[in-house]
Symmetry: C2
Subunit: 223 residues, 2 copies
């Protein structure tokens, strides 16, 4: 595969356009115009429009997941096979948030693309997301090791809520900024990560490890 120049140009142009205008508004003709290549090049190099989108998303997705697992592994090794729950959650939501948030003017194309992908849900991307379960299971396993007396149900709910807070914050960052009249600083990524991890940790440890469990808390959990 000689120079790959065309292929690369298409990927870059597509990522930029999708990031800026969303999937619904960008046609192949827009992309090839931006990339200065021929219309047929997309189908020649990628097979179809959907496969182009899939490749874009998979690339970024793999990068994030690798970073997640790297952090997770480091945390578990450091803890001798059992990482503190905060670190596990940090590894789970940190890379995602870090990859999408941050000062808007210095946000990479990749970041903006991933935000789009998380707002608009287009078939090829949805298909890939559905294959993410095995990846999440690794985190569920680590969480189970970190909190051995916690039921599986609670673990999964905690995992679900952690992802919920991270993804929703990304999806609705604009709205949160507007709602809070700028008081919530979405550009301070590490603060956002800390907030999500903190709440998720509470969700997972409430009534168990908590030093002073509120007497009238709604500890309605089974087991």
């Amino acid at each position: 595969m000689a120079s790959d120049h065309t292929r690369t140009a298409i990927l870059a142009a597509a990522e930029r356009l999708y990031a800026d205008r969303g999937f619904g508004d960008v046609t192949l003709r827009d992309i090839v115009a931006e990339a200065n290549v021929n219309l047929a090049a997309v189908n020649y190099h990628f097979g179809s429009k959907d496969e182009l989108i899939a490749e874009l998303f998979v690339t970024r997705s793999i990068a994030t997941n690798r970073e997640r697992l790297r952090e997770l592994k480091a945390a578990e090794e450091q803890g001798g096979g059992r990482a503190p729950i905060e670190m596990i959650l940090h590894a789970l939501v940190g890379p995602t948030l870090r990859g999408c948030l941050g000062p808007e003017n210095q946000r990479s194309t990749a970041a903006r693309f991933m935000i789009r992908a998380s707002i608009e849900s287009v078939p090829p991307i949805r298909r890939i997301k559905n294959r993410e379960i095995d990846h999440l299971r690794k985190f569920a396993g680590a969480m189970r090791r970190a909190l051995p007396d916690r039921s599986d149900v609670d673990i999964y709910w905690g995992l679900n809520f952690a992802l919920a807070m991270a993804h929703h914050t990304i999806r609705e960052s604009e709205r949160l900024t507007k709602l809070s009249e700028g008081k919530c600083d979405l550009d301070d990524v590490e603060d956002v990560v800390a907030r999500v991890v903190s709440v998720a940790t509470m969700a997972l440890t409430a009534g168990k490890v908590e030093v002073r469990p509120p007497a009238r808390a709604l500890a309605r959990d089974a087991r």
Copy 2:
């Protein structure tokens, strides 16, 4: 004006089809076929496809928001103008979750439609969601009254996280079921509501629960 039969038939057919197959896969021709009306009827009665979708979403949206405010008002009146935070959060996420979750085989068309609307984000619906901020401000206000020593920033983050957990759970209910191998029971709506409210309450009260000013008129919030 007379019978409105066509209008109603279109609305019903559209809701059903969108609920079943999503916005991307359903064309006006599918809808009019299902409704047994003429193609031009959609534009005659609704003006455009987008306005049809908007009307569907607005209708359900208004119903949910009314229920939310009803619960909120009841809670605040009962507490003499200041409702317990749990009740406020319950009013915020309860109607949404109740309207979308529940045993799949007895889920209404409206419920399935709203799930779709929350998964796929199509322009007319996004436009309406953007106007939801004023509605959310009412909850922010109630929360501020309930937790007067909490900063605005914390209030908004708590609100954001509560909505995050509710919406994400709806959006990804299928995945959570699969990930947990059925252990997380999404059909038990009240349990889901309780979990979300519980975590959101912790997020909002962490570190300050015990020092709440006494002489509060909410001694009976056990639940």
